[in-house]
Every structure is written in structure tokens, then in C-alpha cells.
């Protein structure tokens, strides 16, 4: 049954002068009511409005664009998405941190508390994109954490300068993290070996390209449905001169006996030492363990996050499904899965080569 809402019936004229551009449309269920929130911008007045249509009660509500929070949220989102547009190679976590740094730079804060809330809102805004939120969450939280650390009662402006300074160094280090990981991982790639990897991971790509400079090896890449990003990975590998084969996700078991080890990236590393990665990673881990092949994970340190899932269902829904499917998850499949630490041999991070049990140690050191 479909219902057509004719916006004309609602008197919008008092709010709108020119044409409307719709920026975003969210379907939410709040306190028992189904609400569509439409973020629109008036092109002439450049003002942003939120139109909330309550479907159950067929009521329309408009909030004016002079809401600072929505403004800021949109700005943040745009900046964030822009960053990712410009540099395909940038990890979403780093983009998030960059965005937060930008906010720190541009905005004025009077108290730390306002700073906190601003940061939190920004993270929430970035979460509202369609990208996987795991990296954003962990990166953002790390940044927020570091802001609140060891700031004695100095002057606000001084604090801000210190934080900016730290932030920039933090960022520089993180930008280099992929190189550090590639350096460590390439020792494990030997001449003539066969590597299995899952779908597309930029860290793994970088590590393999760096290893291919003086070694010959072969890579099996799974398709990584449903967006078939594995194809892109194979194209990148071939461009770098590495011989590779694209295989079906379901062929993991078949090919496992002929490979020497498995190397995957991660979207997030959880407290137990396990990882959250694209769907299919868990199966690969199970298979690798059964066939006694090493399972290596390449992850930058900002992906460490304070989750402790015990099984697949424990993973929060926002991680698994895109926003638009959150209403009814029974008919959709998840984007990511959780691989427990028992199936992981080693984690390569820019903090060093860690065993899964060492990860929680690292997190404790940070957050305690």
C-alpha cells in the first residue's frame, strides 16, 4: 500500500522562497512513531531546514535552518565526505580525525565542555553517512580521548594550541601508519608464496606492493560481495605487476589448502583482539584455522575500539547494516562480521607485531 503525500497541501510557502534542494532523507522510528526527516536547503536564501513528517500521525513539522546544530552537522558531513572524495586512498578513520581537527581549528570554544559536545556531535554527524562506521567511531573516540588527556588548568587558548599541535603530530603519525605496517608485513611474504586476501583493503594492497619490489608471489582475492570490490583489488594488483586471481567468496575452502597464509585488513579491532571486517572474513578465519594456515590481520592503531562482542549478534546493528536498513533488519544481510581472536595468528599494527592477547593490553594502557 503506498501513500502519496502532496507537499503542496502543507503550507510551506511561509518558509520557502526559492526552490528546495534535498540533502538528506532519514527514516526513523522514534518513540513508537515513524518519522521521515528531510534535510532541505533553500537555494536562494541558503538556509537549511529540517522537515519532519510523522507518518503515523500525518503531521508535518518544520524546524528552521537557523539551528546551529544542524548547520554544523551538515558542514561536518560535507567536509568529511569531501575529504573522502578527494583522496580515494584515505581511510575513513583518518578522514574523521582530520575533520575533527578542522573543527578544533576553526571553531571557538569557551569551555572544554562545549568542545566535548561539539566533538561528539561531529562524530554523530559523520556516523550518519552510508559508509561503514567502525573506523569513524574508533578514530573519533580516540581523538576525543586524547583531547581530554593531561590538560592541566591552563588557559583555554593555550590548551587549544597544545591540542592543535598534538593533533597535527598525531595525524602525521597516523598517515604514516600504513607504511610502517607494510614494512613489517613484507618480511612475511616470501618468494614464491601464495597469499589469500579478502576483498579490498588498502593496507594489504600497500603491503603487497611494497613486498613485490623484490619478490615474486601470487595473490588470491575473493570477490567480496555484494559490491564486488575484490575486482578493484585485482586490478590494482595487476597494475603493480603482482600476479593475482579473483575467486568467488564461496571458493575460500577450496583454495585454502594451496595458499601459504591469509592476510586481511580490518575495519575495527575490538578489545578481545578480534576484528570486525567485511562479511566473509570469519569464514576465512575458520577455514584457515582448520587447514593450519596462518591468519594475519593488518590494521592501523586508530582502529582499536572499545567493543567486546562475544558473538556475531553482540555486534551493534549500526556496524552491521547501513542506516537505511536499520528499520527492519530481518530481510537484509550484514556488511561486516566479527572474527574472534582465537582464529587470528598475528596482528600487524604501527605499534608493532602483536598477538591478539596483546591488543587488550594496549587498549587498557590508553583508556585507563
Amino acid at each position: 500500500m503506498s501513500t502519496i503525500f502532496d507537499l503542496k497541501t502543507w503550507n510551506l510557502c511561509q518558509w520557502v522562497t526559492g526552490s528546495l534542494v534535498i540533502y538528506d532523507l532519514i527514516l526513523q522510528r522514534l518513540s513508537g512513531e515513524c518519522i521521515i526527516s528531510i534535510l532541505v536547503q533553500d537555494t536562494t536564501r541558503k538556509k537549511l531546514f529540517f522537515i519532519e513528517i510523522c507518518l503515523t500521525k500525518l503531521k508535518l513539522k518544520m524546524s528552521t535552518g537557523s539551528d546551529q546544530r544542524t548547520d554544523a552537522a551538515v558542514e561536518v558531513r560535507n567536509y568529511f565526505l569531501n575529504l573522502l572524495e578527494q583522496d580515494k586512498d584515505l581511510s575513513s578513520g583518518i578522514a574523521a580525525i582530520k575533520t575533527l581537527l578542522m573543527i578544533l581549528e576553526k571553531k571557538r570554544f569557551d569551555t572544554i565542555h562545549i568542545l566535548h559536545t561539539t566533538m561528539r556531535d561531529a562524530v554523530a554527524a559523520m556516523r550518519n553517512t552510508d559508509l561503514s562506521i567502525a573506523a569513524v567511531v574508533s578514530g573519533g573516540e580516540l581523538f576525543c580521548r586524547f583531547i581530554t588527556l593531561s590538560l592541566d588548568d591552563k588557559h583555554m587558548e593555550e590548551c587549544r594550541q597544545i591540542m592543535l599541535h598534538r593533533g597535527k603530530i598525531f595525524l602525521t603519525k597516523l598517515l604514516n601508519s600504513r607504511n610502517v605496517i607494510a614494512q613489517q608485513a613484507k618480511k612475511f611474504v616470501t618468494d614464491g608464496c601464495r597469499v589469500l586476501t579478502h576483498s579490498r583493503s588498502r593496507v594489504v594492497l600497500k603491503a603487497l606492493i611494497s613486498a613485490a619490489k623484490n619478490k615474486e608471489f601470487h595473490v588470491y582475492v575473493t570477490q567480496g560481495g555484494p559490491d564486488n570490490s575484490g575486482t578493484e583489488m585485482v586490478a590494482d594488483l595487476e597494475k603493480a605487476g603482482i600476479s593475482s586471481t579473483l575467486i568467488l567468496d564461496s571458493a575460500t575452502g577450496y583454495v585454502m589448502e594451496s595458499v601459504d597464509f591469509v592476510m586481511v585488513g580490518a575495519e575495527a579491532v575490538v578489545e578481545s583482539g578480534g576484528i570486525i571486517n567485511r562479511i566473509g572474513t570469519f569464514t576465512m578465519g575458520l577455514c584457515a584455522r582448520e587447514m593450519k594456515k596462518p591468519f594475519y590481520v593488518l590494521a592501523e592503531s586508530f582502529k582499536f575500539t572499545r567493543l567486546f562482542p562475544l558473538n556475531q549478534r553482540d555486534l551493534p546493528d549500526e556496524y552491521k547494516y547501513s542506516r537505511k536498513h536499520l528499520v527492519d533488519v530481518s530481510k537484509v544481510h550484514p556488511q561486516v562480521d566479527y572474527t574472534p581472536p582465537a582464529y587470528i595468528t598475528l596482528l600487524f599494527t604501527d605499534l608493532g607485531i602483536l598477538t591478539p592477547s596483546a591488543v587488550s593490553d594496549e587498549l587498557i594502557k590508553l583508556y585507563m
Binding site: 586524547f146 588527556l149 601459504d260 598477538t355 596483546a358 594496549e362
Partner: protein, 351 residues
């Protein structure tokens, strides 16, 4: 890092190659003496120079005998010592209290300056004496490591137990001797460990009236395992993930023990810990292949057509080890990474 080895280093390498110095304990002791001499000597004025010297000599030692990781490990420990001492002295002077411990998320996030490295080129008073003091402590620790391991024998071995061991390890020998003194009715099964059959030496040394010794060939390990209560083995070195590089045959023992759910206890003093990872079995200098004539005689007809392979070490994965006993106590294989961070600085992992 190109550099000329000192005379003592050349001498030590020569002795190791010829076989005059063998066994991790002896090599460690000699290496310590060597570095002590370097620190005592006049070749450096500040911490940076000393670290360079130590690093160079450590690198030379390691590239000459890559399997003997204790030499490089001692170099790493000394480097960490130098850093710590330097900072301690500096902190006393400047009243800082930075914990320059290993790289961590915390550290990542709280850097105050762009220059991560402390400036080691400042000359520091009292560094030499402090270092020599510490080296003396290290020497004492080395000498007492065997004793400290043996003291724990009573906790782990009880009367009327059947214990299996492989080959001839000094630590295991002393450990078992202590157990024999304190416990009754022990049975010790010794796998002889071809091709050198060093298990025979261990059997001879342990044979007293109080204990029953059984010597078995390596092929009988699985068969005897069902009757064994504990497996106690020594190792050549412990890798960064908790795995072992042990005498050839240890993997067999560990797998058999896993099958029968027999706990595997590995005795390894702290100087055997090494931050090396096993990348692959083909890894350069992981394993050493010995003389072909140990396996097949040169004057046999097959010697011209058969390929003979006599590896000296085995890799035992950390899942198969139940407990490590070192001179500072017992711990699980998954804890090894923590011990490594305490012993060595991650910047020195690549010497």
C-alpha cells in the same frame, strides 16, 4: 650498518664457529664480558656513540651467526639499559617523569614534541658507572638463572610421576636433578634425539639409585606418550609469539603431548627470549642444516643420488606449549609479548 669488529668480537665469532664456545649460557656469558669491555673502554663519550658501537657490534655478531640469537639479545638489552639509565639520570637533573616505555596508543596520543627521540648526544655524568653496575647485575642474574629455575622444580613435579624429556638440555638436567632429590619414585623417559643421541648423556648424568631412567628412540615418543604425566623440555630460543626454536624432535614431542593432553613445560631462562618472529619456514637463518654424514654414510651407494637433510632446529607453535618456566617465574605463552616489552625497546628489534 658497516663497521669493523673489535678484536674480541672476532675472537668470539671464531670460537663460536670452531665450536670452542657452545651452549647458550656460555655464549651469553662471553658476550656480556665483551660488551662490558666495550663500555669500560675509551671508545665513546656520550650515550649516542655508545649505542652506535653496541649496535654495530651486535649487528656483526648477529650476521656472523644468525641462529645464535642470544648475542643480539644481549646487545638489545644493553641498548635498553643505556636508554633507561640516561633518562633516569636526566630526569634526576631536570625533574622530568616521562615514561619512555614502549610505543603505545597512549604514547602516540600524548607526544608533546615533534622530536620523539630524546637527545642522547648530551654527555651525562655517571652513565658509565651506572651501566657497569647494571651489567654486574645482569651477570649475576645470568649465573643464578639456572638455580632460580631449579628452585621451582618442587612445585611442578610430584612423587610417582612419569616425565618425558628430549635430548640433553642443561636446564632440564639441573631441574630434574633437583626434583629427584626432593621427590620419590620418579620415572624419567628420555628420548635420545638423533642423530647425536645426546639423550644418552642426560641418562648417564641422571642415573642414580633414586629414579628410574628409560631411554627410548625418537620413533617411540608417540607410543610412550600415553603413560606420561608431564613433558619437560628445554629450548634453544623463544620467539616473539611464544613459539619455540628447539632441538629437532621437539615438535614431535609437543604434538604427541597435545594428542594425549599431556602438559608441555618449557624451561627457558630470560636471556633466551628473542623478538624474532617466524615469518616462514623458509626464512633466512631460522633453521640450520647439519652434516649430511650424520644421516647417511659417504661411502654408501645411496650417497651420490639421495639428498640428505639433517635439520638442527624445530619450530614449535605457541598453542602446543602449556607453561614457560623462567628464572623469574612461570608464565603462559601468550604472555611472552609482555616480557619482551620489559626486556627490549621496540626500536631495537631490528639490529
Amino acid at each position: 650498518m658497516k663497521g669493523q669488529p673489535t678484536k674480541e668480537v672476532t675472537q668470539l665469532i671464531h670460537e663460536m664457529k670452531v665450536g670452542n664456545v657452545e651452549g647458550s649460557y656460555n655464549i651469553t656469558a662471553k658476550t656480556l664480558k665483551l660488551f662490558k669491555k666495550i663500555i669500560n673502554g675509551p671508545g665513546w663519550t656520550n650515550a649516542e656513540e655508545l649505542m652506535n658501537v653496541v649496535r654495530t657490534q651486535g649487528h656483526i655478531l648477529q650476521s656472523a651467526m644468525p641462529q645464535e640469537t642470544v648475542t643480539a639479545s644481549i646487545a638489545r638489552r644493553i641498548l635498553k639499559l643505556i636508554r633507561e639509565e640516561f633518562e633516569l639520570l636526566k630526569a634526576k637533573v631536570h625533574q622530568f617523569s616521562e615514561d619512555q616505555a614502549s610505543m603505545s596508543l597512549h604514547k602516540l596520543v600524548t607526544q608533546t614534541s615533534n622530536d620523539v627521540n630524546v637527545d642522547y648526544t648530551e654527555p651525562q655524568q655517571g652513565l658509565r658507572e651506572a651501566l657497569l653496575d647494571h651489567l654486574q647485575e645482569m651477570e649475576t642474574e645470568l649465573e643464578t638463572s639456572s638455580e632460580n629455575i631449579c628452585v621451582q622444580a618442587e612445585e611442578h613435579i610430584h612423587s610417582s610421576e612419569v616425565i618425558l624429556t628430549l635430548g640433553h638440555s642443561r636446564s632440564v638436567e639441573n631441574f630434574l636433578k633437583r626434583a629427584v632429590k626432593k621427590r620419590q619414585f620418579l620415572t624419567i623417559i628420555i628420548a635420545e634425539c638423533a642423530p647425536d643421541s645426546r639423550g644418552h648423556n642426560l641418562a648417564a648424568s641422571l642415573a642414580t639409585g633414586n629414579v628410574e631412567i628409560i631411554v627410548i628412540p625418537d620413533s617411540a615418543i608417540f607410543a610412550m606418550m600415553s603413560r606420561v604425566n608431564k613433558v619437560i623440555i628445554g629450548t634453544h630460543s623463544v620467539l616473539a609469539n611464544g613459539g619455540l626454536r628447539a632441538a629437532c624432535g621437539s615438535y614431535t614431542v609437543a604434538l604427541a603431548a597435545k594428542h594425549y593432553s599431556v602438559p608441555v613445560i618449557v624451561l627457558s631462562p630470560m636471556y633466551k627470549l628473542s623478538p624474532v618472529h617466524l615469518c616462514s619456514y623458509e626464512q633466512d637463518a631460522f633453521n640450520l642444516v647439519g652434516c649430511a654424514e650424520d644421516v647417511l654414510e659417504y661411502d654408501s651407494l645411496a650417497s651420490h643420488s639421495a639428498k640428505v637433510y639433517s635439520p638442527i632446529f624445530d619450530y614449535v607453535p605457541p598453542e602446543l606449549v602449556t607453561l614457560f618456566i623462567s628464572n623469574i617465574g612461570g608464565h603462559a605463552p601468550s604472555y611472552v609479548y609482555r616480557l619482551l616489552t620489559e626486556l627490549y625497546n621496540p626500536e631495537d628489534y631490528e639490529i
